[in-house]
């Protein structure tokens, strides 16, 4: 199991497996989503109401600098938080739909190719690699078109020019 390999890696280096860390590790490992610090904190609090937000940040930082998790931004679609995932899968790119927010993963040879070229051309020793792509998913492309049409006709209908709905930043609940 994935959790075991991470816990093993920590134990070897003399990192203590506290109750809090076990909770956080399990959540990161088992949850099928890309969690940010706040969401992880909320989930962790369900299991241990005393667990502090700061511990979440410290744990994530530790896991990141140990190379056990990767940090993502997901194109800052929802804000400026960072998202985390364990380094278990093969390297992959993240595609974020800028309309619905859905995140898809792309595995495939261009990524390995890129890695190899960079290592050989530059003699660069890669520790982390991150590819994030923003755009419209197949489903949203058509919806998007319709929306743009609607806006256009609204603008033409109103003499002054109707203001576009402001693209507000997603706020936390």
């Amino acid at each position: 199991m994935a959790l075991d390999s991470i816990e093993g890696s920590l134990k070897e280096r003399g990192v203590r497996l506290t109750r809090q860390r076990q909770i956080l590790l399990e959540l990161i490992d088992k949850t099928g989503e890309h969690l940010d610090a706040e969401r992880l904190y909320q989930l962790a609090k369900e299991r241990d109401p005393k667990l502090n937000r700061v511990t979440v940040y410290r744990t994530l930082k530790m896991l990141k600098s140990s190379g056990l998790v990767d940090e993502l931004d997901l194109m800052h679609f929802t804000g400026d938080q960072h998202f985390y995932e364990t380094r278990l899968k093969q390297e992959h790119a993240h595609m974020v739909c800028l309309r619905c927010g859905r995140v898809e993963e792309f595995f495939g040879e261009p990524l390995q190719r890129l890695r190899k070229q960079i290592e050989s051309h530059f003699g660069f020793q890669i520790l982390v690699a991150r590819t994030e792509i923003g755009g419209y998913c197949a489903h949203c492309q058509t919806l998007r078109l319709r929306e743009v049409e609607e806006l256009r006709s609204q603008v033409e209908a109103s003499p002054v020019g109707a203001p576009l709905p402001p693209a507000k930043r997603a706020r936390r609940a």
Copy 2:
């Protein structure tokens, strides 16, 4: 000249070319570095001491959502700011040395390949793509080795185990 094409694009869409924006555009275009908002603000203030930090943020946001500049994180090597570059060059990846902070750019076919595969396999309409890679540049790899050696011998020399120098976050002056 690059500036012209950006200014043209803005003018077409009825965006005003204020004195402040001209200053900022010229700095982004002419400066050969990846600037973050604060640095851009400092540079802009030299030309117009009244220019406000908020205007920098608003201008960057506008340029980004117009697709005229790209936003980078450079692996958060120096902190959580964002860096900006005009979209004039061909698509490229950024390689950040996690020791010296140097940033190199990689152009090359794997990037185009990646783009095409994602578009064809998923029917995904790409608007922005970002590849950032962290590691050690050729030069720092040897230096890094030496540093690790030194640390090791220090640890062996001291009975308690000397604490490693903490990797503090880079603070602003």
